[in-house]
């Protein structure tokens, strides 16, 4: 834990704070269909798309119509990606001659990208053709992120409208987010990445003869364009197997810093958009603060853990001053890796620049816990905000009872229906995370995929399903996925996405239909430190308590055993 490490963390946080307002303001303009600079330039494209699709962008949908539109769209995306992967061998833009992807892997990958998880059961440079990367994966990186933001906007509208029947138009939200938010920022990011050394080429591999005279085949491709959206859309699916640890994906400390900022950018901006849309930016900052508190705690724990050398290696007589360098890149060092690991799992990104599996037990537990909490710390674009709102609803419900009033959030009464939907969404995560882990650690086809035994092997399985259900996509990557894992992880990803989206949209519909009560001194304020503390407590207790036995059998016991010098 060094001075420049703290400076990096603080600088990162300050940058996140600084970009929250401008991004929030712009997001609101885009999603409320207001005038903005880009509208004048790209506007004709937007209107052209509507005309071709035969929709009127101002004709709004009820929550159920909105949900159906989301699902129809997702099904089409799934079919398209699956088909593309299966037939990539006979399709163009395949300079390295990749074969079609196996059915279980194609299914897993299609689900994975459609749900914004980007779990990779494959190594990009040895599996995917350029066409699959571009037309399959990059497209999903855009539209799954845009769909997340669209849903978040619809949910916020639910809170802001009074006695309304509709919550927006999914198609308009989707198109606007893609055209005005994701694409323009990605263009800037991609060019910046190329400037820093990230390749952007349609050529295949290059063979070099090294200084020592051996041959080295270097995989290349259109990396920068995918890298930009992979971060901005909190997708995390890397061009290469080792993701952002690969020097071509993330060549230096600056790109590393920018990538982390890109992960948080829209998640943070959406908190501010929320505040603006509900008419009080402070409400957005309250959410931001709760998220920031959890982020900073996680970062400090990971940094602290990784800054220490593995005591088992230190015992061999190695200098501990560099910290736990196994599975980390020299140019990022401890702080660049620890911060990245926290950020990528706070959000549902899942990109990695260091191997979480090789983190020390407590360092690896932080990413795991971040995901177990439902990735509500800035979170996936859109999904982080609506996931957070679920906890906010529970917190408000408890607070309302404790001050003796039927709970209300932003003037909307929280009643049985909302609680039912909230619990449904909150329930499905531990169900698949714990349920599938319990299955995988006893059946042979589950166990055979684990790279190690003992508590760490258990954590590997737990991490996989947690990551899948939370739509993160990062892994304790020692796991070698077989068909059992591909299938079950696919289910976990679907449940984690759609069993949250549908209840959340139902809540939005119910909220929109309600009257809005004006706040009085008897209403519990939701923009104060007290609320921030309460909602943070609810996230930790309701979201985290369920997992304590599992954590005790995984990282916690591994840590304690490590201190005693036990090897597994």
């Amino acid at each position: 834990m060094l001075f420049h490490g703290w400076v990096t963390i603080m600088a990162f946080f300050i940058c996140v704070v600084a970009m929250t307002r401008p991004l929030g303001g712009f997001l609101k303009r885009v999603l409320e269909g207001e005038q903005h600079v880009l509208g004048r330039i790209i506007g004709p494209v937007e209107r052209g798309i509507y005309r071709a699709a035969g929709i009127q962008e101002d004709r709004e949908q009820s929550w159920s119509q909105y949900a159906i539109a989301v699902i129809v769209f997702k099904v089409i995306c799934f079919i398209a990606v699956y088909t593309l992967l299966r037939f990539q061998g006979v399709l163009p833009l395949n300079p390295n001659g990749m074969r079609g992807v196996a059915p279980d892997l194609a299914y897993n990958t299609a689900i994975s990208f459609v749900t914004n998880t980007n779990w990779q059961s494959y190594a990009g440079e040895t599996t995917m053709s350029h066409l699959s990367q571009m037309l399959g994966l990059t497209v999903q990186n855009f539209v799954s992120a845009a769909a997340g933001i669209a849903i978040a906007a619809a949910v916020i509208r639910g809170f802001t409208r009074r006695s309304a029947a509709s919550i927006g138009n999914f198609w308009a939200d989707l198109v606007r987010t893609t055209l005005y938010v994701l694409l323009p920022i990605c263009v800037v990011l991609a060019l910046l990445f190329v400037l820093e050394g990230v390749p952007q080429t349609l050529l295949g591999s290059v063979t070099a003869s090294t200084l020592e005279g051996t041959r080295q085949t270097i995989a290349l491709g259109p990396v920068a364009s995918q890298e930009a959206i992979k971060m901005l859309g909190t997708n995390g699916g890397g061009f290469f197997n080792v993701n952002s640890a690969h020097p071509f994906e993330n060549p230096n400390a600056l790109t590393n810093f920018v990538q982390m900022l890109a992960i948080f950018a829209l998640g943070a901006g959406l908190t501010n958009m929320f505040g603006r849309m509900v008419g009080r930016e402070r409400q957005g900052w309250a959410i931001f603060s709760a998220m920031a508190a959890l982020f900073l705690v996680g970062t400090v724990v990971t940094y602290w853990s990784e800054a220490h050398a593995n005591p088992l290696l230190h015992a061999l007589g190695i200098d501990p001053s560099l910290g736990n360098m196994e599975g980390k890149e020299t140019r990022f060092g401890i702080v660049g890796s620890a911060l990245f690991a926290t950020v990528t799992t706070d959000a549902s990104c899942g990109a990695v620049n260091a191997m979480h599996e090789s983190f020390l037990p407590l360092g690896g537990m932080v990413p795991l816990v971040n995901m177990m909490l439902g990735e509500v710390i800035f979170g996936g674009v859109g999904s982080g905000l609506y996931g957070f709102l679920l906890f906010a609803i529970i917190a408000v419900f408890m607070a309302g009872l404790m001050v003796g009033r039927t709970p209300e959030y932003l003037g909307k009464k929280i009643e049985a229906r909302e609680i039912k939907m909230t619990m449904l969404a909150v329930l499905c995560l531990p169900l698949v995370m714990l349920g599938f882990t319990a299955l995988a650690v006893v059946v042979p086809s589950g166990l055979s995929a684990l790279s190690t035994s003992g508590p760490h092997g258990f954590t590997e399985a737990l991490y996989a399903y947690t990551s899948a259900a939370a739509n993160n996509g990062s892994a304790f990557a020692g796991l070698t996925a077989n068909p059992f894992w591909n299938v079950t992880l696919g289910i976990a990803m679907m449940v984690g996405r759609f069993f949250v989206i549908i209840p959340v949209l139902a809540i939005a519909g119910a909220m929109a239909a309600k009257k809005t009560a004006a706040p009085t001194p008897g209403t519990f304020p939701t923009d104060t430190g007290l609320f921030i503390a309460l909602v943070t407590g609810v996230i930790l207790i309701v979201g985290g308590l369920t997992f304590l036995p599992a954590l005790a059998l995984g990282p916690i016991v591994e840590h304690l055993a490590m201190l005693r010098g036990t090897l597994f």
Partner: protein
């Protein structure tokens, strides 16, 4: 019915957005960068007259004692003898890979112990001087292609290089010193040395 009515917008919008984000976006990025930053867009390759030596960003597997060594790499490749099997192939830039070793596994401790023995054997002068062995020199990187080592790891090898190349230790030390990339603005990133560039500079000393 809502479902059927949504089908047309779903298909059309999917198609158009695919075109936009899957074709136009990456192709235009490729076009722009190949014009403005052709070398970087092509992978920052180093050409030595007629052949390509490698990429400045991608580490190489240095085994000869006359070169600075990089970090252990966990990448694997097809066994030349039997392509269905894979064997350790350090710095295989066609298939990046990490060890993903568990911190409490016997495998990790044994592997690091072996690497440690090797490093000690290769650098008897440093061991004799009782220099601490830097962590990065015995642990695998995340990509298996880490182009860099810490300044400590470079200095650790200085005595060996000086001996093998028969040049003054101070010259080598100054070269390393010169090749260190310092953190941006003094805080962003870790000080590190690009091994390929360092070794090329080393070779250049003799010319």
């Amino acid at each position: 019915m809502t479902l059927i009515r949504q089908l047309r917008p779903a298909l059309v919008i999917f198609g158009l957005l695919s075109l936009l984000t899957g074709f136009l976006y990456p192709l235009s990025m490729t076009a722009i960068s190949s014009v403005l930053m052709p070398n970087k867009a092509a992978g920052s390759l180093i050409h030595d007259g007629k052949r390509t030596v490698g990429s400045v960003l991608i580490g190489q597997n240095f085994t000869q004692s006359r070169y600075f060594h990089g970090r252990p790499s966990a990448t694997i490749g097809a066994d030349p003898a039997d392509p269905t099997k894979s064997v350790p192939t350090p710095y295989n830039a066609a298939a990046s890979m990490a060890s993903n070793a568990s911190p409490t596994s016997k495998a990790l401790v044994e592997r690091v112990a072996a690497a440690l023995t090797q490093v000690r054997a290769e650098n008897p002068e440093a061991v004799a001087a009782d220099w601490p062995i830097p962590m990065d020199l015995v642990t695998t990187s995340a990509s298996g292609l880490d182009p860099d080592i810490s300044p400590q790891a470079a200095f650790f090898q200085v005595k060996r290089i000086a001996r093998v190349r028969n040049i003054p230790e101070e010259t080598v030390r100054q070269l390393v010193e010169h090749m260190i990339t310092h953190p941006l603005m003094g805080w962003l990133g870790e000080p590190h040395v690009n091994v390929l560039e360092l070794n090329m500079a080393l070779d250049a000393l003799h010319r």
